[in-house]
């Protein structure tokens, strides 16, 4: 048994903890609005990608419709606040509940079948929700919902950008902590076994169906809450925006580039790629906006073909080589 002191020491030395702590200091470097906005997006996308990674990276159940959770969270929180004046905090809690319910519905129908049925129904679900919400909200006016800005903690509205940045950071830390606890728990080992070889896991007595359901529900829970926050943060929601396929792809791209099934991977991916896509949108912009997503598509194909482990795998390979050299020399 290790003492508390030893545990604290090993915790501080963990590169992941150092990495996240450094990220937490970044917002203090500059109070420039553009810089802070970009950091907020980096943290938020790292958060979404991490949530996606729990089910799709560790569990190998690829969801390409995660935007369904995102959108449902954004809409529940946004509509409750904009139309009924209910505090976003309650909205966020409700979003989480609905995220879990939706995950259970999809999982219930598809987790007993081959893996691609799951992928397919997540895409179908996202598309279905997009048309449903478009029909429901845009039928008469054709406009999205604007969320009123009244400053106050109860309204989740602040005048300083840095507050949003730190909320996004707290969300990220929460999901990282949850992922960490999952990977170190019994259910996490079951999950890894399920992702590795489902038949083998089953034959060893793992209830793979239940594991996948639980993990998918956790992933949906986080994504829905994040979606709610995103809506409030952006102050405007529209079905074609919060249910866009682009988001699902981004969650996947960041994780895959960083390293599927690793905790640091999705964070690494978003730290590199979010500023890049901001660059494409704001500096090149205009007619060439599609280029950013075109590049995402190409990255996906190339990484899957040539570096399936992503950047984390690359880092480990380099590290191993250095260690080998040191040992030889």
């Amino acid at each position: 048994m290790s003492t508390t002191r030893q545990r604290v020491q090993s915790f501080i030395k963990d590169p992941l903890v150092v990495f996240i702590a450094v990220l937490g200091l970044l917002p203090l470097l500059s109070s420039h609005d553009f810089y802070l906005k970009m950091l907020t997006l980096v943290f938020l996308f790292a958060f979404f990608s991490e949530a996606w990674n729990i089910i799709s990276g560790f569990g190998k159940q690829f969801s390409l419709g995660h935007v369904a959770f995102f959108g449902i969270g954004a809409y529940i929180t946004g509509i409750l606040y904009a139309d009924y004046g209910i505090s976003p905090w309650i909205g966020l809690a409700l979003s989480g509940v609905f995220g879990v319910l939706m995950a259970l519905l999809i999982g219930f129908a598809t987790f007993r079948l081959r893996a691609f049925f799951f992928t397919l129904s997540t895409i179908a679900c996202a598309e279905a929700l997009r048309v449903l919400v478009t029909y429901w909200r845009l039928g008469s006016t054709g406009l999205g919902t604007t969320i009123p800005a009244v400053n106050g903690v109860g309204n989740l509205t602040f005048s300083h950008e840095i507050c949003y940045t730190y909320i996004a950071y707290i969300l990220l830390v929460a999901v990282v902590f949850a992922t960490y606890r999952i990977t170190k728990s019994r259910i996490g080992y079951y999950l890894l076994a399920t992702g590795g070889d489902e038949e083998a896991a089953k034959s060893l007595g793992v209830n793979t169906y239940r594991i996948k359901l639980v993990i998918f529900a956790i992933s949906g829970f986080f994504t829905a809450i994040g979606g709610g926050f995103y809506g409030i943060y952006m102050r405007y929601i529209e079905p074609s925006m919060v249910f866009a396929v682009d988001f699902s792809v981004q969650f996947a791209v960041f994780s895959i580039v960083g390293g599927l099934g690793t905790i640091a991977g999705p964070i690494l991916g978003s730290v590199i790629l979010v500023p890049m896509s901001t660059f494409f949108r704001s500096w090149i912009g205009g007619l060439f906006t599609p280029i950013g997503f075109l590049i995402y598509g190409i990255i996906l194909v190339i990484i899957i073909l040539f570096l399936p482990g992503g950047l984390m795998r690359g880092i480990t390979m380099v590290k191993d080589k250095i260690v080998q050299k040191i040992n030889k020399g």
Binding site: R112, A115, Y135, I256, I291
Partner: protein, 290 residues
């Protein structure tokens, strides 16, 4: 009642075009075992092909098939050589991610080239209708169904009465067994990929005569094809045709009696229902439980 019959007739005609689309997916999935989530975007490209042809030449898009069919076949072979071949032996997750990435490349590539506007083709017979027993049926749908019927019939003949066709069926049934009796599996894969894209080319050209095209239509078409294939039963040609007609009729009914905007929602409910009630599809025999 007359409207009801009209909807069923239109559903059957559109269903034939859908069947052809889904058949392309079914051939590639059945033979290569490739889970292709870029299928809808291939159809979108074929629609743009038909559109470009009639724009440049001023002729009916169907004439464009003389160019598009060989191009599609060669493209199929090229995609097999450079992408699918590497994916086939990789785990299923890689198929999903890589083809999804491909679909993104197609979508945003066409958006860059053609902008996100809706494009459509008008032919001399676009506005004409065929009048029979109080029913009005428009010609583009009739021609589309005819083209699909011809291609499906010749495909069935090819698969059953030629040696290459029999080899394709053998490989799709059992890859190892086919290898053992001396079938060149890679050649068969190439031909199957080419044939799949040919089905796509014809269905894309038929679609462009009665529907407009835009870069993101592929997501919808992809979903449609997969639902048809799952509903009919993977690997069954009659199943695919029946599934396509059921889906097309359902689309017409939902569009007429409820709300045209909600057809995608109806697909999703339908898809979940199939998965819960009969995951192997109407004509499916294979056990597909994980």
């Amino acid at each position: 009642m007359e409207i009801f019959i009209q909807l069923i007739i239109n559903g059957c005609l559109t269903g034939m075009t859908y069947a052809l689309m889904a058949l392309g997916l079914s051939i590639i999935f059945g033979t290569l075992g490739l889970i292709n989530f870029a299928h809808g975007d291939f159809i979108m490209l074929a629609m743009y092909g038909g559109f470009l042809f009639s724009l440049c030449s001023g002729m009916d898009p169907y004439w464009g098939l003389f160019i598009l069919l060989p191009v599609a076949f060669v493209l199929g072979i090229a995609f097999y050589r450079f992408l699918f071949k590497k994916l086939i032996d990789a785990p299923e997750e890689s198929h999903i991610i890589a083809t999804f990435g491909l679909s993104f490349v197609f979508q945003y590539g066409t958006m860059l080239l053609f902008s996100a506007e809706y494009k459509s083709v008008s032919t001399d017979y676009s506005a004409n209708v065929f009048h029979i027993w109080n029913q009005y049926i428009d010609y583009p749908h009739i021609y589309g169904a005819l083209a699909a019927a011809i291609l499906i019939a010749s495909l069935i003949m090819f698969l059953h009465y030629t040696n290459t066709g029999r080899a394709i069926r053998a490989v799709s049934e059992q890859r190892r067994g086919a290898m053992m009796i001396g079938i060149n599996v890679h050649r068969i894969y190439m031909i199957a990929a080419g044939l799949g894209l040919c089905c796509i080319a014809v269905s894309g050209v038929s679609l462009i005569t009665f529907e407009s095209v835009h870069p993101t239509i592929g997501t919808h078409l992809n979903l449609l094809c997969w639902i048809i294939v799952v509903l009919g039963g993977i690997g069954s040609i009659p199943g695919t045709i029946v599934g396509a007609i059921i889906i097309a009729i359902m689309e017409m009914m939902v569009g007429y009696y409820f709300e045209p905007a909600l057809t995608t929602f109806a697909y999703f409910i339908m898809f979940l229902a199939i998965l819960m009630i009969r995951p192997s599809g109407i004509f499916g025999v294979k056990e597909r439980r994980a």
